[in-house]
């Protein structure tokens, strides 16, 4: 423990002396909210005030109005508080009959003209306001004229209705909403909406800087090798560094929260008119439920930065993590999203919602414990990965020039192929399907995807001498038990997918057609099954669980499965199907890895899609015991009969 603390002290000593780390961990979190709430609005107000004082020139041509109407419009325009100069007889609108705004020379707005107001004959007469939208003064003139005339028209309308009917028939009732929430509940909600999302930004930016400095930075400067020769177990080194990252991230989070509470206390920005303080117990509870998430993020940052060869590569690797973390945190900004036991189990999302609810006083004891337990569980998983972050051989040798492990280079190439394939399928497949959905999908699945699978396989053969068929179909002949096992797992996956879609609909409604809706566009059931079940099962599996999976190698199966999840989810190009297709990709990859063959993965995919299309999603809950039983048997068949190595 003393050694871990010594390393932590050393890391922090170096980090706090770095201006950039200090800026990210201390200065930015402290000043962020005051800047957001005070300075930016002040600048914006100053700019608006400056524009308010600016003279704008409006040319009017109101001959089409009656004398009384024309006089009222002129009087209203002359009464505006803003400096609006009204002029008449502009040469561009002298002849109203032939005037066309679209034919107007925009150059007139460069001179003494910001807007033109032209009255046209009609019943009622039309007032046409012509402005130059990209010019600030012209936009300001539009705002002033529109506001003045709308007020004039509203007054006229109201007066007319009152005179003829005695009241406005379009507004039979008046609605008044009264909010009786205690001020600290409202304040807690305001803070709870903002804090989780902004905390993610700050924790990740401050933590990623610390993580990169303690790993990739040390590798670049050559101090990591020196450190690894000290009589300290690499686990202790990793823990010391992780704690430094977590400390920096935690400080950034706390200071950020402090800045927000201070703004609330002083009634700045969003909190103008409702200054106050959230109850300390709520604040404490919010910090407690969010603390494991800070550890989780620090663990992920540590793990990733330990794998980066350089600071720059680390930044590139961390960028997607930041993007991925923002999505679940942003749920807290949505009032319509309520924390429940399922959301509470999702990393970042559960903690963000729990923090929001804690600040409003709406977080129940059970949900608080549930969210805390799940967050702590996720954090522990991340901490487990930290333990392997500093394997000296991998960290130094795998990264040394000319001594890179073949597996890593091969894996990166396979991932590059995967990303390129996904992009090509987006571009080419998307274009084909925009012409004709069914024929385009057939062309994509029968031509484009197999062509990509063969291209990856040819590349692998050129580089390693691997055979085409073993690459596409796996190195082993498929065993019947594995095929049966894969088929038995599929109903469980399909059932989960259907339930997921149902639940997802409550917080992320799908605007697009589901698989069943899509199926209805493809004519008869036989054709649907061919196009939506058989073809994807063959083509997609050849590419993803065939060529790409074999190109990735089997040295680090978890990494392979993770990338299979990401690539397979990405290729379906749908936020709504991302989770479901990702899970299918991951399970199919695991099946292909366990069985050593692509064929069981094809069968899994075929049965899964077949059930969704053929039964139109009607997998009844009463079937669940049979479905679970089949899945358990399937997993058993796949794992008990594993091919021997060699």
């Amino acid at each position: 423990m003393n050694l871990v603390l010594a390393i932590l002290r050393g890391e922090l000593q170096r980090l706090v002396r770095d201006r950039r780390a200090f800026l990210m961990a201390v200065v930015l979190p402290v000043v962020l909210f005051p800047v957001l709430f005070v300075l930016f609005p002040s600048f914006s107000r100053m700019a608006a005030e400056s524009l308010d004082e600016e003279e704008t020139v409006l040319w009017v041509q109101l001959d089409a109005l009656s004398a009384a109407e024309s006089a009222r419009v002129r009087a209203a325009l002359a009464d505006t508080e803003s400096p609006l100069t009204v002029r008449e007889d502009h040469e561009a609108v002298r002849n109203v009959e032939t005037f066309q705004a679209s034919a107007l020379d925009p150059a007139i707005f460069e001179e003494d003209c910001d807007a033109l107001l032209v009255a046209r004959d009609g019943s009622p007469p039309v007032l046409e306001l012509v402005v130059h939208g990209s010019r600030t003064r012209s936009g300001e003139a539009r705002r002033r004229v529109t506001a003045t005339l709308e007020e004039l028209l509203a007054t006229d309308r109201e007066a007319g209705l009152l005179a003829t009917l005695g009241r406005d028939p379009a507004a039979p009732l008046e609605l008044e909403a009264v909010d009786v929430a205690p001020p600290d509940d409202s304040l807690g909600l305001s803070i709870g909406r903002m804090l989780p999302l902004l905390a993610i930004f700050l924790v990740l930016s401050a933590g990623s800087f610390a993580a990169l400095d303690t790993f990739a930075g040390e590798r670049e400067s050559g101090t990591l090798e020196t450190l690894l020769v000290q009589p300290v177990p690499s686990l202790f080194l990793a823990w010391g560094k992780f704690l430094a990252v977590a400390t920096i991230a935690g400080v950034a989070f706390l200071l950020n929260a402090l800045g927000l509470f201070a703004c609330a206390g002083f009634g700045l920005g969003e909190f103008a008119g409702q200054p106050g303080a959230v109850q300390p117990v709520r604040v404490l509870l919010a910090l407690v439920v969010y603390a494991p998430t800070v550890l989780l993020l620090a663990g992920v940052l540590t793990w990733i930065s330990a794998r980066a060869r350089s600071f720059r590569e680390g930044q590139n690797l961390l960028f997607p993590v930041m993007l991925a973390a923002i999505a679940p945190a942003s749920l807290a900004t949505q009032d319509s999203v309520e924390l429940d036991f399922l959301l509470g189990a999702i990393p970042i999302a559960g903690a963000s919602l729990a923090m929001r609810d804690a600040l409003t006083g709406a977080l129940g004891f059970g949900l608080a414990v549930w969210c805390l337990a799940w967050s702590a569980g996720w954090a522990l998983l991340a901490l487990r990965s930290v333990a392997s972050a500093l394997d000296a051989e991998r960290v130094l040798v795998a990264r040394a020039p000319g001594s890179e492990l073949a597996g890593d280079a091969r894996f990166r190439r396979a991932v590059a192929w995967g990303i390129a394939s996904v992009l090509l399928i987006y571009v080419v497949g998307g274009r084909l399907q925009s012409w004709s959905l069914s024929q385009g999908l057939a062309a994509t699945l029968w031509l484009l995807v197999p062509a990509l699978a063969f291209a990856v396989a040819f590349d692998l053969r050129r580089r390693t001498g691997a055979g085409l068929l073993p690459t596409l179909l796996g190195p082993r002949r498929p065993r019947a038990l594995h095929i049966v096992g894969a088929a038995l797992i599929a109903p469980m996956l399909a059932w989960c997918a259907i339930r997921w879609f149902t639940w997802q609909e409550t917080w992320l409604p799908a605007p697009e057609a589901g698989l069943q809706d899509l199926a209805s566009e493809f004519g008869g059931r036989g054709w649907q099954l061919v196009l939506l079940a058989v073809s994807p099962a063959i083509a997609e599996e050849l590419l993803f669980r065939g060529s790409l999976l074999r190109a990735m190698g089997t040295r680090r199966p978890r990494r392979v499965v993770l990338w299979q999840v990401l690539l397979f989810a990405a290729v379906h190009a749908s936020v709504h199907r991302f989770a479901v297709t990702g899970v299918l990709g991951g399970v199919a990859a695991a099946v292909a890895l366990v069985s050593g063959s692509t064929v069981p993965a094809m069968v899994l995919h075929l049965v899964y899609n077949g059930l969704l299309v053929g039964l139109e999603g009607d997998l009844r809950d009463s079937w669940l015991p049979a479905i679970v039983g089949a899945a358990v048997l399937g997993v058993g068949l796949l794992t008990l009969y594993r091919p021997s190595k060699g």
């Binding site: 050694l3 010594a6 390393i7 050393g10 000593q13 170096r14 002396r17 770095d18 400067s221 050559g222 101090t223 090798e225 020196t226 690894l228 020769v229 000290q230 009589p231 300290v232 177990p233 000296a392 051989e393 130094l396 040798v397 000319g402 001594s403 890179e404 492990l405 073949a406 597996g407 280079a409 091969r410």
Partner: protein, 261 residues
């Protein structure tokens, strides 16, 4: 700090037995960086490991320093098996890599304190040792300045002080004079001589033949992962019939059938 063992088998400060290391290279497949190196260095001896770039010098030193695990074979530092007890080996070893390995934002004094703590040195003993090293390596003028502002010579002196902070019986230096000016190189050579006189073992790699000729008691010629010549300069001269080390080196490399770097 640790007294050398008297066991005749383990009397050597550094010993390797059929040491091998293989890597996978994306272009070349499996590359044998070190192929069965047999090495023995005594206490009170400076052993120079010579070889062209890519000969496997750094890999051998990293295996001895327990950074890399040997693919095959064994190695001992001060009688301790590097694979069986790497932490104990690190306690008996001072290691200086080709880069200075100093933290830019720490001062030399803070660096010494940090690494002394990692070696488990008690504070009073550590402070006394730091004062001793400040005198020995003439660090007083810059010991409280951040390392990022030091000259290359000052950095190297601070690095050496860091490497010998725990007074190890064995010192391994990887290309210690790379990038140093004449004065700093001279300081380094003087330091290596002092370690020898204190009965410590120094193993260093270099491709600067004049340094090896001037300093080393024995020299090992490493090429293509193999140690195919080892002995005193006189023995190597006798073997090749050449007078100067550069000629000896050229002849031995030529015998191995490859051009010198």
């Amino acid at each position: 700090m640790t007294t050398p063992t008297t066991d005749p088998i383990e009397r050597l400060a550094i010993r390797t037995e059929a040491l091998k290391k293989s890597f996978h290279d994306p272009e070349r497949g499996v590359v044998e960086a070190v192929r069965g190196v047999e090495l023995g260095c005594r206490y009170g001896e400076i052993y120079g490991l010579l070889g062209p770039n890519g000969a496997g010098k750094t890999t051998v030193l990293r295996m001895l320093a327990t950074i890399l695990a040997p693919s095959a074979g064994r190695a001992w530092i001060d009688g301790v098996d590097v694979a069986a007890d790497p932490l104990e080996v690190r306690r008996r070893l001072g290691f200086l890599s080709a880069s200075t390995g100093l933290y830019a934002r720490l001062t030399p004094r803070e660096t010494l304190r940090y690494f002394g703590t990692l070696h488990g040195m008690a504070k009073p003993a550590l402070e006394a040792r730091i004062d001793e090293l400040i005198d020995a390596f003439d660090l007083s003028k810059f010991v409280d300045q951040r390392c990022e502002g030091l000259s290359s010579g000052q950095k190297q002196r601070a690095s050496i002080a860091r490497a010998v902070l725990h007074d190890p019986p064995v010192l391994i230096l990887d290309e210690p004079t790379t990038g140093l000016d004449i004065l700093a190189t001279s300081d380094m050579i003087e330091f290596l001589g002092s370690r020898k006189s204190e009965s410590r073992c120094v193993l260093f790699s270099t491709h600067v033949l004049s340094e090896a000729e001037r300093l080393c008691d024995r020299i090992g010629i490493l090429h293509d992962g193999r140690l195919f010549a080892s002995g005193t300069l006189a023995e190597l001269r006798a073997r090749t019939g050449k007078t100067y080390l550069d000629e000896v080196f050229q002849a031995l490399i030529a015998d191995a059938g490859a051009p010198a770097a």
